[in-house]
Amino acid sequence: MDAVFYNGVSARPIDAQVSLLDENQQLLIEVDGETPILVSFADISITHSEKSLLVLSFGKNPNRVIEVKDETFRLNFLSSNKSGKKGITYFKLIHAGWKVHVLLALLIIGFCLGTYFYLIPFVAESAVSILPLSFDKKVGDMAFEQAMTGEEIDSAASVTMNEYLKKMMPGESHKYHLNVVKSEELNAFALPNGEIVIYSKMLRHIKTDDELSGLLSHEISHVTNRHSMRLLCKSLSGYLLLSVMLNDVNGLMTIILDNAHNLQQLSFSRHYEEEADLSGLKILEQYNINPKGMIDLFEILQKENTINVPGFLSTHPVTSDRITYIKQHISKHPYNFTPHPELLVLLNKGKAQLRD
């Protein structure tokens, strides 16, 4: 096969003949009037390969170059070369055609999207464990201040409700603080510092102490599971990834604090709500409280909620779903509970104290 040879000393082209010795994995280069050169495939670098052009080089000093402008030779060289290490596989991949390349591109795009929407948030959520608990308090304090601006706290009812909490869970009540806020919204929420807010309308709709205990156990579970913190980390995952990679916990805290005021606007995922329901039930069991209160509570919510969004559209588990899985849980984990007349007294007292 005709080729052009450059001897690595001068740029003058030299006409040469090349042939492939497949069995020996060697290339034979013959130039008129000179001793033939035998190079093993393993010592040859493919400098360039395209249709009808193959540029090979070998040797460090002098670095010799051989240029063959023939497609059959190029294909034969690529297929008979078994040295592998000089990038044969790579060239095959490169020449795999546009369909393979487009597929690879889609794969990479999919991978990037997956990383961005699933992996990074997941990592960020897990990063919560490296934050000290004292930090939850700081974030909660800021968010509480923000949430209470312009709100009217019913202090008399709040005092009674805190007494209720003390009687309900004697061991742990000091970690939490209840606030009754005047509002026509049927809602309650908890902040990472243990501040729990119950809207007055919610309190009015609650009939039994078991219902109120169910509500409180649910809200407390949001705090103990650090749901707010996890959600914040997840929604700020882009920045967080960087701080975690740089092991910069301080930077991470700054970002979270800067965003603490958004806390109330974030809504928990169905997963978090379910987790809070189930750990709430554990609290009820611990203090011998009738778990049916939680079901009754959701029935109240269900009655008030006129719009019923199908489960997969809503971020909250639809109330009927919640009732179903709570019922299932109760039937699987039966336990003995006792009535708590002292709690009912406090509930009624608190409701009576509510201002209009």
Binding site: V4, Y6, N7, G8, V9, S10, A11, R12, P13, S45, T47, H48, S49, E50, L53, V55, S57, K60, N61, P62, N63, R64, V65, E67, G87, Y90, L93, I94, H95, A96, W98, H101, L104, A105, L107, I108, I109, F111
Partner: protein
Amino acid sequence: MEIINQPDAVGKRFYPISFKGRGAEYFGIAIVNLLLTIITLGLYYPWAKARQLQYLYGTTEFNDSRFEFHGTGAEMFKGFIKAILIITILYGLTFLLVYLRMPIIGILVMYLGLFSIIPLAIHGSYKYRMSRTSWRGIRFGYRGERNELYKIFVKGILLTIVTIGIYGAWFSMNLRNYILGKIKFGNAQFTYNGDGGKFFWMNVKGYFLTIITIGIYGFWWQKDIFNYYIDNLKLTHDDKNIDFKSTATGGDFLGLLIVNFLILIFTLGIGYPWIVARSLKFIFSKIQITGDIDFNNLIQTEENYTDATGDDMSDMLDIGFVV
């Protein structure tokens, strides 16, 4: 072989130069490299870079022969590790000083460090790239002195600060004259003859006209700079020369850059390999090379140089290859 540059009536020869690469091919390479880089958590990067350079050099044809890039992933990987170490040490030192409540000294150390790394990176980068580039087996080479480059840098930066940036044009031309003037192509020698004053007024004109025309003149400004870089370049071999001349117009640049921009936007960045390919095709198609050098007489003179630290450092600090 030599039919293509037979001398014309006045003894001048024309030397064709062109880029033969295609966007689709380069896309394939970029995608395969990206995939391998992701799979190896970034470790493949030096090999990817070597492959990409190999393709771009291998598809650039001068006088009927392709350029060759001999750099390997292994060389670049070693350089990559060294460059990471150097930069990590520098940042580590800065953070340590800031942590020890000496932020001003810390920041000073960082700036001084970066300032002294840049000439080092440029020097190393040229030495490596040139030595790894060849044409018909004849290597290029960079014979600049590190200390000379430092002198130009120190003088240039100090005067640029003192003159609130005005000296920048002279600084840029001094660097170009020095670096390009130290580049060898076998036993042929490049020279660049830039003039700080001309370059300065060209940029002043470009700057104000661009503002007045709400940016439209920017393409012509771009053309002026490109032409200034090309037209002052020369290659000498014994008593023979070749001259480089740009035939690019402002309109050409307008077409190139607007289409590049549209490709980038409408493909969400995936079309980047096409932008590289068409830009290189454009650049080489606008360079006219004439003279009387017989390239068959080119002789190997330059040594191998395989330390890629400077090159990887330039890459990390994002210093463009051509100053």
